[in-house]
Assembly symmetry: C2
Homo-oligomer: 301 residues x 2
C-alpha cells in the first residue's frame, strides 16, 4: 500500500502517471479539503473532484479542473443573466457536485466520496482529510480574502501577508492508512495551502515519522512550477526553493525528489534529509508523469 | 389594472393570450408558492418560473414547465450516476433557479422575482403569494406525501383523502393590488392546490369581495382539463363540475366563464353567481387563448 497526500493540481498530474505503474488497488489518496465551500447551492470540493476525475480518466487535463469535454450551459447562462459564478462549473461536473452534496448530507463527506469513487469505477481509496467544514483565509495587502476570491477574483495578485486556516479533525482512516503504508508520497502540491493542512491534522506528523516519506518538490529554482506556492512560502518567510520545501517536511522526510535543474542543491538538502533523488520533475506529458512515478516508486526501500 | 391569480399550468396558458390583448404594464400576476421547495441545492418555484417564462416568451409551451429548447445535461448525468432528480430541471432553467436562490437569500422571494422579471424584460408585476416558506401535504391511501412526490413520483395515482397546507402571510402588495384592480381574473388553475392557497391568505377574500372577480372553470363536464384537480375536489367532497368550482368562489365571485359543453349548467350556476359567460375554454392554440382572454376582458363592466 502506498499513500499519497494530494491537493491542487501538482499531485493529480503525478497520480495520472502513478496509476499506470502501480496497481490502483494499492493506492490511498488523502486529499486536502480546506478550500471546500458552497457555490450555487452545491458543495464544491475541487481538490477531491480533481482526484476523482483523474483516477477515472475524466479529468480536463489542460486545466486540471473539471471534466474533459464538459459544456458550460448553466454557467454561461448565469453570466448572461447577471449572476456570474465565481467557479467555472461545467454541466457534467455540476451533477457530480449535486450528488456529493446530497450524499454528504446523508452520510458525511468521506462516505460520499467513497460512494462516488466506487460509482466511477475507481479501485483506489480516496479519503478527504476531514469530514468537518473548514475555512482558509488569505491575509493580503488589500485585506482578508476567501481562498477562491484570492485565487480567482484577484488572480493571486495581492501581496500575501499571512494564511489562516481552521483546525479540523482528521477523517477516520487517515492515520491508519499512513501507518499501514509501505511509503507515503507527498506530491508536488502547494506545501502551504494543500499539504500543510493535512500535516497539521492531529496525529498525522507522528504517523509520518514512523513511515518512509518521499516528497516531490513543487519548486524548481526559486519559483513554483504552477500556482501561487512561491507567494505563500515567501509570506511565511520560507525560502522559496526545494530546500525550503524540505525544511517544511524535515521532521519526517526520508527522501526529496528534486528537478535536474536543482542538482546543485543536493549537498544543502542532504543536511536536512537523508536521501535526495534528482530527476526530471516537469510533467508535461504522460511519459514524463510515468517516469517520475517510476523513479519515486523505485526509490522506496 | 387587472390582477390575475395563477398557479400550475392552466392560468399561464391564459396569460399567453392575455398579454397579447392587454398592455402587459397593466397586469399584476399573483402566483401560488405553496409547492415551492429545494431540489438539488436550489429553490424551485415552478409556478413562478412558469409565469416568468410565459411572460418573457421563453416557456416550453408543450409541457408548460421549463424553458423551450433547453438541454438537460446535468439532469441526465444525475440519472446516469444514480442520483435521479425528481424534477426535470434544464440547464438554462437551472441558472434561473440558482440566481433566484441567491437573490432570495439576500432580498427575500418577492424582491428576487421582481429583479428576475425586470432582467427578463417583463413589464407586468409578478408577485409570489408569500415570502414565507410553506408546505403542502397530500394525505393519500398510501400515506402522507409531499406534493411533488404525489404528482411526479406517484403520477397522481394514489387516492386522495385530504390536503393539508401551512398558513403563511401574504407578500406585501397583494391586498393593495387586488383592491386597486378594475377586476381580478382567477385563471383555470387547480382550485384546491393552486388557487385556494392564495384565497386563504389573510385579507384576500375581503379584498376580492370589493372587486369584480371573474373565474374561468378548469373543469369541463365532470373532469379537469388537465392535472389532478378533479381528484382533489372529490377528496374534499366538492362537486367535480363548474358548479363545484363556482361554489368554492361563491363568496366573492361575480362572473364564471364556462365551456360551451357546460352550457346546460347555466341555470344552476346562476343560483350561485350573477353572471355566467359561455364560450370555448379549451386553449389548444394561441388564437383560442387570445379569444378566451378577449371574452374575459369584454365581460368586465
Amino acid at each position: 500500500m502506498i499513500t499519497v497526500l494530494s491537493g491542487g493540481t501538482g499531485t493529480p498530474k503525478l497520480l495520472q502517471g502513478l496509476k499506470e505503474i502501480v496497481d490502483p488497488n494499492d493506492l490511498t489518496i488523502i486529499v486536502n479539503t480546506l478550500e471546500n465551500d458552497y457555490f450555487s447551492g452545491v458543495y464544491v470540493s475541487a481538490d477531491i473532484d480533481t482526484v476523482l476525475y483523474t483516477m477515472s480518466d475524466m479529468i480536463n487535463d489542460e486545466l486540471w479542473y473539471g471534466v474533459k469535454g464538459d459544456t458550460f450551459i448553466t454557467h454561461e447562462r448565469l453570466d448572461e443573466i447577471g449572476c456570474p459564478e465565481l467557479l467555472r462549473i461545467g454541466d457534467i461536473d455540476r451533477a457530480t457536485k449535486i450528488q456529493k452534496t446530497q450524499l454528504m448530507e446523508e452520510y458525511g463527506l468521506s462516505k460520499a466520496v467513497e460512494i462516488q469513487a466506487e460509482k466511477m469505477g475507481i479501485p483506489s481509496k480516496i479519503i478527504p482529510m476531514s469530514d468537518e467544514n473548514s475555512d482558509i483565509k488569505i491575509i493580503t495587502d488589500i485585506g482578508e480574502l476567501e481562498f477562491h476570491d484570492f485565487l480567482i477574483k484577484h488572480q493571486s495578485q495581492p501581496e500575501v501577508l499571512d494564511i489562516k486556516f481552521s483546525d479540523v479533525s482528521p477523517a477516520s482512516g487517515i492515520i491508519n492508512s499512513i501507518e499501514n503504508s509501505q511509503a507515503v508520497i507527498i506530491g508536488p502540491s502547494n506545501p502551504i495551502t494543500s499539504i500543510s493542512p493535512i500535516l497539521s491534522l492531529d496525529g498525522v506528523k507522528d504517523a509520518l515519522r514512523d513511515t518512509y516519506v518521499v516528497a516531490v518538490s513543487p519548486i524548481i529554482g526559486s519559483d513554483s512550477v504552477s500556482g501561487p506556492a512561491s507567494k505563500f512560502m515567501k509570506a511565511l518567510n520560507i525560502d522559496v526553493s526545494s530546500v525550503g520545501v524540505a525544511s517544511l517536511y524535515e521532521d519526517f522526510l526520508d527522501n526529496i525528489v528534486i528537478d535536474n535543474k536543482d542538482a546543485d542543491k543536493k549537498q544543502q538538502l542532504n543536511q536536512i534529509v537523508n536521501k535526495v533523488t534528482i530527476t526530471n520533475t516537469i510533467m508535461n506529458n504522460l511519459d514524463a508523469k510515468k517516469n517520475l512515478a517510476q523513479i519515486i516508486i523505485d526509490s522506496i526501500p
